[in-house]
């Protein structure tokens, strides 16, 4: 297949220009351009799928790219790949946007000057040559590259006559303390593989595993665990997505989480240490170490009800096997490693090791250089050249200011990027790398799993693969010993079987190890985090968000546009302030406050809420306005002062979180086995509507939904939804077809958050259909509430009569950059100004699947059609299918006791139904 694709891509270029126009533009192309040489098996007009790996974050989920006429138009998961298992997070969905982003650069730059590749390579070689002549160091700074590219850096340096160890891995969101903690607890370098699904109780010490780490994988496992009746407790300062998905949220005095854990550990050891099967010495050591942490003392210091502490301990002891995770970024202070160690000890004593917590021998990592060392050497002027590979330290503000400063003293800095970042603006040479969807590479998310990243299309711009540029410059310098003769891609491809490339990965057997707790565990106890900064200031906690992680995609308009369901902010970061803390300051949600602390200063709107503990503030990372500042604080326990600036950021919706709402859309059942009272069919004066063949429908399990917004992002990409920008969103003109609403229930003390993806309900008795004067919207025989754009004159009557408020109106012809047009899905038209649009249940996918089935003379099977949202959902909360097919997954769901429809009393008979959220109450 490889060759055919090369041929295909090689000649697709000509077809691109017109294919694009034909695909998306309202104006049809004037010219048609056929291939010069057609590929053997590519048929224009039909989609092709390529397996690859998503590289938007180090988790490296498997991905499948849908390619139409030489253009990747949609990225979805790889169901066979162990990481992600077919789903993709919002960032992964936005990867396509990154591919066609107007901000991408296609030509190399020397400073601000655009130059051609030949000149760039000459410049590159010269820079390196000078460094070599001056006997200075050449250092590579790269984002995590766990595959052969990582190794290549070493060999390349060696070829240049440098030490292969001069490779610095730069990852602002790395959590080294977890590794260190394991090493301390078990005395060996290990990779932990937690098995959330089979844990009866999950205790997360501020570990937002639904947000960072390997979110898609974890979120799925966590949802399965919940579905299986497992419970979960989250200890942390803020109600993160993870905390919201958990059954119980315990917030302790910020910084004293370690005390809480130690107190817990002491309880566990006291009550069950003897039965934990530890060596006497180890146990004795533990008992001795934990002596000072009795319930009373801990409870007093960490301001938590002593009973709660004991309850958690009992819960842990009764629910075997359990799983303790953390500490996460939100609670990671100066000696997070010690805390991580304590958590691992807790796991060991509870006997989770080998049960829910499997360990693999850590992958042999190539010896490398620490950033600190590089900073020192560069500062001392020993470094002659630095080659950055998708690393943007300058973009991270204060934390890396030292390194950024040192970098300024390096005579030659070259950087491989997709878009100009802050570091690139200062670099001597900027080399535009291919997007990961245009590049060969491989990744090892964990030992035994190799993801193969293959290019799915020709580069959109004149970019080149970073690896090949390194090889090219090495050739120019005549130093090619040990380097591949052919391109990096060719070399890499030869190391895999065609079958492996086709499936997108290779699995290797790695024997798990069951480490024993080291007798000297807890040699150094974690101390209470002390927050530096002004005394009157409030402790600041920096938390990653599912949508932005650490903001490594700050320019992703799509991720900016999708509002945070809980705070309601889009296109801006925010600071979370507890209402009790906000009251004296006279703060209300939307007031812009100036945060000042050792980390720096930033102005962000306040989000006044009970989802963060009083007496502290939290800033979610990675958002355009708060980007520098918030990133600048990462990992540092600091205090900040809040000051009202008087400015305001208005949110378009006045009841975010549905607190004041009269109608509760989210329904809950008590306990794992709870069911809703059966709905009584309401009388109707109209004859019942028949669906002869199919009745397409969507079901959303509110117990599985964690509000990540992957469905929303997927919908944007699949259906060519317009991104309208901050101003228009603020005016309430967001075009999202499937916004995720939050529903905050405070009736049980601590706020309980449920998330509700609310798209068109595809009613059988749709209020919008009866009022449309032109039949632009009507009910199809297959149960869709269809919208015929070309018949719509924009009376917006339908939008007024939709009780769910899910219809959107095109107030303008929304602007799109030419490059963005390349990314549009040709199966979906671009809606003109003045027409109404809404969720179509991905009618284009249904059409395609039905046509294919008919063409192949076969029946349509369950699973042949999957809506974009259902395909994206990491937790499988969304299931799409045919209700007429009694065996389909959705029919099984419809029979579930938790199934209900929104605003049933209106008798709109929606085709979309929800499964009620399960309340387990507190442990």
């Amino acid at each position: 297949m490889k060759v055919s694709r090369r041929g295909f891509l090689g000649t697709a270029v000509g077809a691109l220009g017109t294919g694009v126009l034909a695909g998306c533009s309202e104006k049809l192309p004037r010219y048609l351009v056929p291939y010069a040489t057609p590929p053997d098996d590519a048929v224009p007009g039909l989609a092709r799928h390529y397996r690859t790996v998503c590289r938007e974050c180090p988790a490296s989920c498997g991905a499948t790219a849908r390619v139409r006429d030489g253009r990747a138009v949609k990225l979805e998961g790889n169901p066979d790949f162990p990481v992600g298992r077919g789903a993709l997070c919002p960032r992964g969905q936005a990867a396509i946007e990154g591919l066609y982003a107007p901000g991408r650069i296609g030509t190399p730059r020397a400073g601000a000057r655009e130059i051609d590749w030949a000149a760039a390579e000459k410049l590159f070689a010269a820079g390196l040559q000078r460094a070599l002549d001056d006997k200075k160091l050449v250092v590579v700074v790269t984002r995590p590259e766990t595959g052969q590219l990582g190794k290549l850096f070493g060999t390349w340096l060696e070829a240049l006559g440098q030490a292969p160890t001069q490779v610095v891995t730069f990852d602002a969101m790395d959590r080294p303390w977890l590794r260190q903690g394991q090493e301390r607890a078990f005395g060996a370098a290990l990779t932990a593989v937690p098995d959330l699904a089979s844990a009866k109780l999950i205790l997360s010490i501020g570990d937002d595993f639904v947000e960072e780490g390997s979110p898609v994988e974890r979120a799925r496992a966590f949802a399965d665990q919940r579905a299986a009746g497992g419970k979960s407790i989250y200890v942390g300062p803020r109600l993160s997505l993870t905390a919201a998905a958990a059954d119980q949220w315990i917030s302790v005095e910020p910084g004293t989480e370690s005390l809480f854990v130690l107190g817990l550990l002491r309880q566990v050891v006291d009550r069950a240490g003897a039965r934990a099967g530890l060596e006497a010495a180890t146990l004795e050591n533990l008992q001795h170490r934990l002596a000072p942490f009795d319930v009373a003392a801990v409870a007093a210091r960490s301001r938590v009800d002593p009973k709660k502490l004991q309850d958690v301990a009992s819960a842990l002891l009764s629910a075997r096997p359990s799983l303790c995770l953390g500490p996460g970024r939100a609670v990671a202070g100066a000696d997070a490693a010690a805390l991580a160690e304590t958590v691992q000890v807790l796991n060991a004593v509870l006997g989770n090791v080998g049960q829910t917590l499997r360990f693999l021998p850590a992958a042999p990592t190539a010896p490398s250089m620490e950033l600190a060392e590089l900073t020192r050497k560069a500062g001392a002027g020993d470094v002659g050249a630095v080659v950055l590979h998708h690393a943007d330290p300058a973009g991270y503000g204060p934390v890396y200011s030292a390194f950024a400063g040192a970098l300024a003293r390096v005579p030659f800095v070259a950087t491989f990027v997709n878009e100009l970042d802050d570091t690139a603006r200062k670099a001597h040479l900027v080399l535009p790398d291919n997007h990961f969807l245009e590049n060969w590479s491989d990744v090892r998310p964990r030992p035994g799993v190799v993801g193969i990243q293959q290019p799915v299309m020709e580069p959109v711009l004149g970019t080149r693969a970073a690896a090949d540029e390194l090889l090219a410059v090495a050739r120019i310098l005549g130093k090619t010993t040990g380097l591949p003769k052919e391109t990096f891609g060719e070399a890499l491809r030869q190391t895999f079987q065609p079958k492996e490339i086709e499936q997108g990965f290779r699995l290797e057997e790695v024997a798990a190890v069951v480490p024993r707790l080291s007798p000297s565990a807890l040699a150094q106890l974690p101390s209470v985090v002390t927050f530096q900064g002004p005394e009157q200031g409030l402790p600041l906690v920096i938390v990653p968000t599912f949508r932005h992680l650490d903001g490594r995609q700050p320019r992703s308009a799509l991720l900016q546009e999708i509002p945070d369901p809980l705070s309601g902010f889009s296109w801006t970061g925010w600071v979370e302030v507890n209402s009790a803390t906000a009251a004296p300051l006279g703060l209300t949600s939307g007031d812009v406050v100036a945060l000042e602390g050792p980390g720096g200063r930033c102005e962000v709107p306040a989000f006044v809420t009970n989802s963060v503990r009083a007496g502290m503030v939290a800033v979610p990372v990675g958002d355009a306005t708060a980007l520098l500042a918030s990133k600048g604080f990462i990992g540092a326990g600091t205090r900040v002062t809040l000051r009202r600036t008087g400015a305001r950021v208005e949110r378009s919706k006045t009841d975010v979180g549905g607190a004041k709402g009269a109608e509760k859309l989210v329904r809950t059942v008590e306990g794992p086995a709870g069911a809703l009272p059966p709905a009584v069919p309401l009388p109707s004066m109209y004859p019942p509507v028949e669906h002869p063949v199919h009745r397409w429908a969507l079901s959303i399990d509110l117990d599985r939904c964690n509000g990540c917004g992957a469905c929303t992002a997927a919908c944007y990409v699949e259906n060519n939804l317009a991104i309208v920008g901050a101003d228009q969103v603020a005016r309430g003109r967001s075009m999202s077809w499937l916004p995720v609403m939050a529903d905050v229930d405070t009736s049980h003390g601590t706020p309980e958050v449920s998330y509700l993806p609310l798209g068109c309900q595809h009613c059988t008795a749709a209020p919008c259909e009866s009022v449309c004067p032109t039949f632009a919207t009507y009910h199809t025989p297959e149960g869709l509430n269809a919208q015929v754009y070309s018949r719509c004159i924009g009376t917006r009557y339908c939008e007024n009569n939709c009780p769910y408020g899910v219809r959107r109106f095109n107030f303008y012809d929304w602007p799109r950059a030419p490059s963005e047009r390349l990314g549009l899905n040709p199966d979906v038209t671009v809606r003109e100004r003045g027409v109404t649009e809404k969720c179509t249940l991905c009618s284009q996918r249904i059409r395609t699947a039905e046509e294919q089935a008919k063409f192949d003379k076969r029946e349509l099977h369950d699973g042949d059609v999957v809506s974009a949202c259902a395909a994206a959902c990491p937790t499988q909360a969304i299931v799409f299918g045919d209700l007429k097919d009694p065996t389909s997954a959705i029919s099984r769901r419809a029979a579930d006791g938790r199934a209900y429809k929104l605003l049933e009393e209106l008798n709109t008979q929606p085709g979309v139904f929800y499964l009620a959220r399960r309340r387990r109450g507190s442990t």
Partner: protein
């Protein structure tokens, strides 16, 4: 009715058409200016899209639809009043009937523009009309908007015929009276009506038919417009009281506007002799009555919301009275329910400035009343996570003002071209008509 000689009546009426004062030009000029402003704003909307309005998700209907409903409302009373007066053989009719009918026609013509301005793709508005086409496409008869199209078109047709029919004898009269370019115009328009007994007999037969048709039509049009809202399932709209409520509101605002127009005519053309304080007193009484009806309707709405026990509906009304638009709401109560109470006192009724002030209050109040019930419902419907607000933009309000200008422009041109009072009716008998059309009388 009047003590004026027939010749005098005729002379005065014709005077309104003859002499063109600088005041008239000023009025016409400002009306045209308003139209220009509105046209410009609309052209922007057509070029850029409805983004120039304050509309948003969830508030998809705003000032434009409000203005549409308002003008339909105003249109109401004209023809209705005139027809009722005709059947009650009220002496009032001769004086105010004509201008009331004209007002009706022009307000509908104005109102009819707004749905077209309001829709997203105005250039395709004909999709709502039934026309044969190869695409086998028809419009949706279940949609109240489709009913609107029919109701309004038939209403405007009948109102025009009613107006025209009533004018026939006068046109015939004028065709003999005036000189210059108008003469052939009137001759053509009068359709050769020469005032013979036979013609009069037919006229006397035909006219009541129109008058009879117009009354139920007027009621139905307003009910239909109300169904645009009542037929939805939105809290605060979905209510059986809407049809009568709209009709009442329509008459209410219609009377108020009629008062203003008549006062204007009277002042402008010194028709004190014909439009007497008695007329205003009667109108004021009608206004008062309608105001009481409206107050009752408001009360009913709130009671029904409470009585029905639908959370969403109660929320809507609670918010209407206490939320973002509370000032508007209480302002409306003040102007529509409280202020007219003063009309209980005859001193107020007979004090023209006071009456005019109240009429202005009512007119403005009714616009905001429409605005209020349209916006508060959709801004506050079932899904609270969708709740929002709406404030019209400048361009939007310009388009609304443009409509006002459009109406006045048409009206001013009308009174210049046609008799604003029914001359023939003012004259007691057929003989009088004959007399009037003889040359001698014309010299008077």
């Amino acid at each position: 009715m009047s003590e004026a000689s027939l010749a005098q009546i005729e002379k005065d009426t014709v005077a309104t058409m003859a002499g063109t004062t600088w005041r008239y030009w000023l009025a016409l000029g400002s009306a045209v200016a308003l139209v220009g402003l509105g046209a410009w704003a609309w052209s922007v909307a057509l070029r850029e899209g409805l983004g120039i309005t304050g509309l948003n998700e969830p508030v998809m209907w705003g000032a434009l639809i409000t203005t549409f409903v308002f003008f339909i409302g105003v249109s109401h009373s004209g023809t209705l009043v005139s027809a009722i007066l005709f059947f009650t053989r009220s002496p009032l009719r001769a004086a105010i009937g004509r201008s009331a009918e004209a007002m009706t026609v022009f307000t509908i013509l104005t109102a009819g523009l707004y749905p077209i301005v309001h829709i997203g793709r105005s250039w395709l508005f004909f999709f709502v009309l039934p026309y044969p086409n190869q695409r086998q496409l028809w419009m949706n008869f279940r949609s109240p908007l489709t009913w609107d199209v029919f109701a309004i078109t038939s209403y405007v047709t009948v109102s025009m015929l009613f107006l025209y029919m009533g004018m026939l004898p006068d046109l015939a009269l004028l065709a003999r009276q005036v000189q210059g370019w108008r003469r052939p115009l009137y001759r053509v328009l009068s359709l050769g009506f020469s005032g013979t007994d036979g013609e009069w007999r037919i006229f006397e037969k035909a006219y009541p038919i129109f008058a009879g048709v117009v009354i139920p039509l007027a009621v139905s049009v307003h009910s239909v417009v109300s169904w645009d809202f009542a037929m939805t399932l939105m809290p605060g709209w979905h209510s059986a009281v809407f049809a009568p409520y709209f009709v009442a509101g329509a008459i209410f605002s219609g009377i108020a506007v009629a008062v203003l127009l008549l006062a204007g005519l009277r002042r402008g053309y010194h028709l004190e002799r014909y439009i007497t304080p008695k007329h205003f007193d009667m109108l004021a009484k009608l206004l008062l009555a309608m105001s009481l009806v409206m107050t009752f309707v408001y009360a009913t709405e709130f009671f029904m919301a409470f009585y029905r026990g639908s959370n969403a509906e109660m929320e809507v009304f609670r918010w209407r009275a206490t939320g973002t638009y509370a000032p508007v709401f209480w302002g409306v109560v003040l102007s529509n329910s409280v202020a007219p109470i003063a009309l209980f006192w005859s001193r107020v009724r007979n004090n023209l400035p006071a009456l005019i002030t109240i009429s202005v209050l009512v007119t403005v109040g009714m616009w905001f009343e429409r605005f209020l019930f349209i916006v508060t419902t959709i801004a506050r419907s079932f899904v609270s996570q969708n709740w929002g607000n709406y404030i019209p933009t400048w361009k939007e309000s310009f388009i609304c003002l443009g409509g006002l200008g459009w109406f006045f422009m048409l009206f001013l041109v009308f009174i210049k071209l046609f008799p604003c009072m029914a001359i023939s009716e003012s004259m007691q008998s057929q003989h009088a008509v004959d007399a009037a059309v003889t040359p001698e009388a014309s010299h008077a």
